[in-house]
């Protein structure tokens, strides 16, 4: 394997890690809560701007500002679910899709009105430019991002499988009425689950802020990709989402390397349609839980 291919592979893997985290948030919202969240990309952009504002305003490292972003996004997700989506929880699924679409427009264009459409980029101090290993160069910001993704994924796993609230969230996703009868407060539990999902995508956005130039509609480019990864990984499957994110990252960068960057999304979406048709339960899915 020549060095350039290896470079593309590595870049794809590192970028895929960030996709994984954003998609992990979506797998909680879409896979576990069954809400087709079209505000996911917009929430990611909000996360980016929080980091940008806090980091430039207080003069602190974006990796500390990330905590503010996580808290803000959790609160935002909680509010969106508790006060908006919950009101129509019995409506057909596409109404929830449309509601989140409305929320996406509100979030995105509020950012546009406040920050203008101009690109903003963040310089990180005390971070070396590029790490050279032989012919391969690695962006340290991507490396840090990948590390944070692994930590956050593990933390989410612990919350979901080792805590009371995690148990409640999983119970809600399996059987709403049953969970309710066992004393789970659906309203609150779904809002927390949505908040955690939003937090994941907010952190993913924050991790991208030192890597990319940000603008108010940037999140849109990640929107469909997150759905691809969440479905590919199997609905509600955390580790599935992590691995699928890496796969999508690599597929994208490989297509970019061999066919040119502007084609890279095509393979991802084409593969997505094939997966939807052939195996909608995802690569690692057991059975299709969404069967009617």
């Amino acid at each position: 394997m020549n060095a350039q291919v290896f470079q593309a592979l590595l870049d794809g893997l590192l970028m895929g890690g960030v996709y994984s985290l954003a998609a992990l948030g979506l797998t909680l919202i879409f896979g576990v809560m069954k809400i087709t969240n079209f505000a996911h990309g917009a929430m990611m952009t909000v996360g980016m701007y929080v980091v940008y504002v806090v980091s430039t305003g207080l003069g602190i490292s974006p990796y500390i500002a990330l905590i503010f972003s996580a808290i803000t996004l959790f609160a935002l997700g909680y509010i969106i679910q508790r006060f908006l989506i919950h009101r129509i929880s019995d409506a057909p699924t596409h109404n929830q899709l449309l509601l989140t679409l409305g929320v996406a427009y509100i979030l995105e264009n509020t950012l546009l009105a406040v920050f203008t459409p101009n690109y903003k980029s963040l310089e990180v101090e005390n971070l070396p430019g590029m790490i050279q290993i032989g012919a391969i160069s690695v962006n340290p910001a991507k490396l840090i991002a990948f590390g944070v993704v692994l930590v956050v994924t593990a933390a989410i796993y612990i919350v979901l499988y080792r805590t009371r609230i995690g148990k409640a969230i999983r119970a809600c996703s399996q059987n709403r009425e049953g969970a309710q009868l066992m004393g789970v407060v659906i309203k609150n539990t779904s809002a927390i689950a949505f908040g955690i999902g939003a937090l994941c995508t907010g952190i993913a956005g924050s991790l991208l802020t030192p890597i990319l130039s940000i603008y108010p509609t940037l999140g849109e480019t990640f929107q469909l990709k997150c759905f691809v990864i969440a479905i590919l990984g199997g609905m509600g499957n955390l580790w599935g989402a992590l691995i699928s994110g890496l796969i999508v990252g690599v597929v994208e960068s490989m297509t970019g390397y061999f066919a040119g960057g502007s084609w890279s999304d095509l393979t991802v979406y084409a593969a997505f349609i094939l997966i939807l048709l052939a195996k909608p339960s995802g690569l690692f899915g057991r059975s299709n839980r969404r069967e009617h």
């Binding site: 129509i88 449309l98 509601l99 409305g102 203008t116 502007s262 999304d265 084409a270 349609i273 909608p280």
Partner: protein, 320 residues
């Protein structure tokens, strides 16, 4: 008043409004009128497939873009008049629609999975057209200005207004006939309960394909009209998810699955956005915030839409 009476009153009011508008309006106001009718045509197109047949599309830009590109490419490459290209585009869109529909329905994609698949198809078309030099690539195609009625180009915006008005009327008449025919009844049955409809002998796949093709035809006609009116298209305009959303929103606001709902929805949302745009010239994004607020508010407080709500209210009063 019953539904039929409300329909008649609405029809007469809309017809009077459109005629008066055609006579009086000019300049900027006429442009807005044309935008309203483009949104109304897209809305009626979405209404057929998603409002009546219940197949939620989030990728109507596919059909719009195919209509726009087919007529434009036929014209710029082979000199075929867009009057002919328009119908070629409609047929092409119907074929693509049938293919997408066949794959999705054959493999039992439903609800949000189907919506995501249609979105992915629209994105795939956008990327392909973006990267294909023969089709103009990302920089798009400028339609040469000749101002010749035989080439679908007119001196006055009033002519454009009249044409798009006829197209919207055609879509509405189609829906009116559809709802009274066996086709409409079958679609309503499929929307309500697919398994039950199938068990009663409705050929579900066939009727879904008819709905998606008819829907695609009208979206493609809107696409051709758009390219002829504005004289320029590129993949990130005509295959954009913004177009797919523009097909949905008039239905949500006006009432999806109703005859005149999308027309009322378009009549409300487009002028509101224009007013917003001229009121907040220094801040971008305010009109789209309003757009988002309206979508969310209608979904939460008035999911039947304006027209749907009126009909329900009237029927309730009569004790139905």
């Amino acid at each position: 008043m019953n539904t039929k009476k409300i329909n008649n009153v609405t029809l007469i009011s809309l017809a009077v409004l459109a005629t008066a508008f055609l006579i009086v309006a000019d300049g900027y106001i006429l442009c807005i009128g044309i935008s309203v009718l483009i949104a109304a045509l897209l809305g009626q197109s979405w209404n057929i497939m998603s409002g009546y047949a219940g197949q939620f599309s989030f990728g109507h830009a596919v059909f719009f873009g195919i209509g726009a590109y087919t007529s434009t490419l036929l014209y710029t490459m082979f000199g075929v008049s867009p009057w002919i290209g328009m119908f070629v585009g409609a047929i092409a869109a119907a074929l693509v629609g049938s293919a997408i529909g066949f794959l999705s329905f054959r493999y039992k994609l439903r609800d949000d999975y189907f919506a995501l698949a249609t979105l992915a198809f629209a994105e795939i078309f956008r990327i392909i057209f973006n990267n294909t030099k023969v089709f103009g690539g990302a920089s798009g195609i400028l339609i040469p200005y000749v101002q010749n009625a035989a080439e679908f180009q007119f001196a006055s915006d009033k002519t454009y207004f009249a044409i798009i008005l006829v197209l919207v009327a055609a879509a509405t008449v189609f829906i009116a006939f559809m709802t009274r025919s066996k086709l409409g009844l079958n679609l309503v049955a499929i929307k309500a309960n697919q398994e039950a409809a199938a068990a009663l002998g409705v050929n579900v796949l066939k009727y879904k394909l008819i709905a998606i093709s008819a829907s695609a035809v009208f979206a493609a006609l809107a696409g051709t009209f758009y390219s002829q009116y504005y004289g320029f298209i590129d993949p990130s305009i005509v295959f954009a998810s913004a177009i797919s959303v523009e097909a949905i929103v008039p239905c949500i606001i006006g009432g999806s699955g109703t005859l005149y709902g999308p027309l009322l929805g378009a009549l409300l949302i487009i002028p509101l956005q224009e007013i917003c745009n001229s009121a907040f010239t220094s801040i971008s994004g305010v009109n789209m915030i309003l757009y988002g607020v309206l979508i969310a508010a209608f979904i939460i407080f008035c999911p039947d839409g304006i027209y749907g709500r009126i009909i329900k209210f009237a029927n309730k009063k009569r004790g139905k």
